[in-house]
């Protein structure tokens, strides 16, 4: 028998249902594996009891015949989701000691669906980063290593780096992620797993620590497309507590899965062919095109003329929103308080925020504060929101010619930790392919396509029309079936 920890969401669900194993066995196996993987630094908090309790409930539910969609499935929870009674930090020192008295809608939905929690996953601080190097609790290490024998620790991607690392190392079958400018898709690509950012508004933002409100979307990360579909069905849904939540029923995405793409037109955005892109990425893209053709799709070239402005627009809008969203961390009501001797209120704020926020968070707060400050609003923020309109229009224009878009997920494979952290701009450029769809609120997914010359995973990205998660998942499935990606990191930890 394969190890239980090698099973994905669907396999665990089905196995528990048909009695192949108990949910408790599954939870215990994952709990043990989590406990043995400290070297990856993927978990900030381990919650084995939570997983066991849900497992026991699943086993009881099986006995009484009322299993839920995720009964018996233990998952990892990105530590950006507030969890009732379990410390939640967004990987920042400023939330030192914070234990929410409430449960985020997304996590509550998952528990409602029967899932259990293995623990809270590390991330880039406040989800700001593309390598998981900005966490106040240390870097997450990717389980992958280059073939060169150098054993340089690699970035698991970010910001959902704890999630990607844990899934690819088989510490959990699935995890939650959040994606503001690519934080689900890029780490999925770096670690050879799948992840989908749904349409903005599909998953409630209530109880999820905000980075940039108009961009933040929760989504699942898992080892295959079906598991992503199952997870997303549980996570998504209308929430009256979130004004931007979409008042729509959740489609049966798993039931709707089909890799037959006959009649579908796939657009290839020509502006995504950027200078200096590694040949291996380009080759993978060509391979992806061939796979989708093979699945019955027609390929058309499309143009998204404002692509080049997406990143700079993003790096105005996201920091601006963040500078305001993070103003609440002031040492008054929760989290860290740094009160130097004789300090007044405003000094306390400044000291607390200086001590609690990491360098990248401060940098973004500074940029955001600057672009919103007196006299600059029109030139920066308003201009960026106008450009955003143009970017969304580009997509609308493309949808008159195709149903889905195919592009690489990231311009490179995983880089080594420390390789880009000294140059913020180089790091930002890593999100060049993921940011445009985030700005337009569109569903987008990364699926593994193959390995590069160093044996590291590369991802392909599918972008869909608003609300067409099904189309995205189906194209992802078509690639998955053809890519036959089975590579996994060798266990060294």
């Amino acid at each position: 028998m394969t190890e239980l920890t090698d099973l994905g969401v669907a396999a665990i669900r089905d196995g528990v249902r048909d009695g192949s194993f108990s949910a408790r066995e599954v939870a215990t196996a994952f709990n043990d594996r989590v406990a043995q993987a400290k070297a990856l630094n993927a978990f900030l908090v381990e919650t084995p009891d939570h997983a066991l309790k849900a497992a026991d409930a699943a086993d009881a539910a099986r006995a009484s015949g009322d299993l839920k969609p995720l009964s018996g499935v233990p998952i990892g929870m990105k530590d950006l989701f507030c969890t009732d009674g379990v410390p939640t930090t967004a990987a920042s020192g400023i939330l030192d000691g914070f234990t929410p008295t409430y449960e985020s809608t997304v996590s509550a939905n998952l528990w409602q669906a029967g899932a259990g929690m293995l623990g809270k996953l590390n991330l880039d601080q406040f989800a700001m980063g593309s390598s998981n190097e900005t966490s106040a609790f240390g870097n997450v290490i990717s389980p992958w290593r280059r073939k060169d024998g150098g054993n340089a620790p690699l970035a698991p991607g970010g910001s959902s780096g704890g999630s990607s690392s844990a899934i690819s190392a088989r510490l959990c079958p699935a995890a939650t992620g959040t994606d503001t400018g690519g934080s689900i898709r890029q780490p999925a690509a770096f670690t050879g797993i799948s992840g989908i950012k749904p349409t903005y508004g599909r998953c409630s933002r209530w109880g999820t620590i905000a980075f940039a409100s108009s961009l933040d979307q929760a989504g699942p990360m898992a080892r295959d497309v079906r598991d992503c579909a199952i997870m997303l069905e549980a996570m998504a849904g209308f929430d009256p507590k979130d004004s931007t939540s979409l008042e729509l029923a959740v489609p049966g995405w798993e039931a709707g899965l089909s890799s037959d793409l006959k009649g579908k037109k796939i657009g290839i955005p020509k502006e995504y062919r950027v200078d200096g892109m590694p040949a291996e990425i380009d080759a993978l893209w060509e391979q992806g095109i061939a796979w989708l053709k093979d699945a019955g799709a027609e390929i058309v070239e499309v143009s998204l003329p404002h692509t080049k402005y997406a990143l700079p627009a993003y790096y105005i809008i996201a920091p601006a929103e963040a500078s305001s969203n993070l103003a609440r961390y002031d040492g008054v009501r929760y989290g860290l308080r740094d009160l130097p001797d004789g300090a007044g209120l405003q000094d306390m704020y400044a000291a607390t925020r200086a001590a609690g926020f990491g360098a990248e968070v401060k940098r973004r707060i500074m940029i955001g504060t600057y672009v919103l400050s007196a006299g600059f609003y029109d030139a920066y923020y308003n201009q960026a929101q106008k450009v955003r309109t143009l970017i969304a229009r580009d997509f609308d224009e493309a949808w008159t010619r195709c149903d889905l878009l195919l592009a690489p997920t990231a311009p490179s494979a995983a880089f080594a930790l420390g390789e880009k952290s000294a140059d913020p701009l180089a790091m930002y450029l890593n999100d060049v392919f993921t940011v445009p769809s985030s700005l337009a609120g569109l569903p987008a997914m990364s699926v593994p396509g193959g390995l590069d010359g160093q044996g590291l995973p590369l991802g392909l990205q599918i972008i869909g029309k608003a609300l067409d998660e099904q189309g995205v998942l189906n194209a992802g499935l078509a690639i998955e079936e053809r890519a036959g990606f089975t590579a996994r990191p060798e266990q060294w930890w």
Binding site: C82, T101, R205, L326, Y377
Partner: protein
Amino acid sequence: METTSSYRIQGATGEWEVVIGLEVHAQVTSNAKLFSGAATAFGAEPNSQVSLIDAAMPGMLPVPNKECIRQAVRTGMAIDAQINKWSRFDRKNYFYADLPQGYQISQLYHPLVGEGAIEVTLDEKDPDSAVKRIGIERIHVEQDAGKLMHDQHPTRSYVDLNRSGVALMEIVSRPDMRSPAEAGAYVKKLRSILRYVGSCDGNMEEGSMRADVNVSVRKPGEEFGTRTETKNVNSVRFVMAVIEHEANRQVDVLESGGKIVQETRLYDPDRNETRSMRSKEDAHDYRYFPDPDLLPLELDDAFLEECRASLPELPDAKRKRYEGDLGLTSYAAAVLTAEAETARWFEALLAECGDQAMAKAASNWLISDLFGALNRLGLDIEHSPVSPKQGAELLKLVADGTLSGTLAKQVFEIMLETRQDPGVIVEEKGLKQTSDTGAIEEVIAKVLADNGDKVEQYKGGKEALFGFFVGQTMKAMGGKANPKVVNDLLKKALG
């Protein structure tokens, strides 16, 4: 729309004119807060009416309260303002301990209510007093802050978030006022309209209404000067005092060669002075931007129609109707309509009378007798010991001759004390006036007989003595004789 205002400050260098604009914050009457489901009631235990949203816990999100939007729209309609069917909420960013989010959700770029105006009269008792139109630039909806308490601990301030997130309307006037009196009249009129509409209880002591007072001075005819803003002034009297004080201070500064700094000031009522607010030193860069947690607020016609249909008759219209249809004096009409409660009471009284022709009598009685009594008792009209029904009964007893004016006053005093119906009092105390001509004739005969000398004088031409005979007759009848009958019979008896 400058009208002449004679108010001037006499400086060493000549006359100065004062320019005043007010930003009135009015708490919207609602059960729950603007963006959370926590209660808004005044005076609760600290931090008991606070949701996790109001405390700005991580991941909390705002969802707007429909009633708050509705009340702001109705208020806008009541001041004849442009209602914007498309508006949105912006964040005003600043750090303060009473502001948990680190920003206030407000409306800068696209407010819910645009340009409007109200008319104020400087002296409501004077029918010829000039009416002045004060422009209102906008009304926007925003969150209130929490409360900081400084006097409970030697080295700490305490934060109570009960008010945090309560809905406010910020009503921003044009700089159209030119004297403390005009500003006072404006606040009173605004308060009256809000209370008619029911969108704010206007309770200034509890902070339901407070004004930021913008004052500048200039030589008449010159450009506007630099203004200062004095925050959170919470009574009409204080608004007027702030203007007076601040205008004089500015004149002093300017005349001694200084410059006015655009700044935020605080009013100290105990010392009657304003001073610069240290805590607002860098408050000029609020980094406003649209709140990304909220979509644009779009109102449809059905919503607006309901808002309009639910508006009551407003004070100006009511006053005109009282003068025109009911034939009341402009003074009476102004007094009766100044407060929604008074008008409501008056209309209930008139309805109980069941006869529009009694409007004048009802108005006189309410303004002199009832108001006089309430004043004496320190009660407002909502807590009147006499109900409109009882008042109407009393007026009817006078109209049908059962009670004389004097008797009515006696009965009214007993009503105030015992809360009994006037009919019952008249029965029990036998206060009914008599029109029994036989009895009256008997008394008249005795009065004339006892005052033979005066009868002579009267007949000799001293007609003023007629009143004396009336008085003596009434006195002898214990005030219960019908004065008209007494008059008639006396005239007959005296030939």
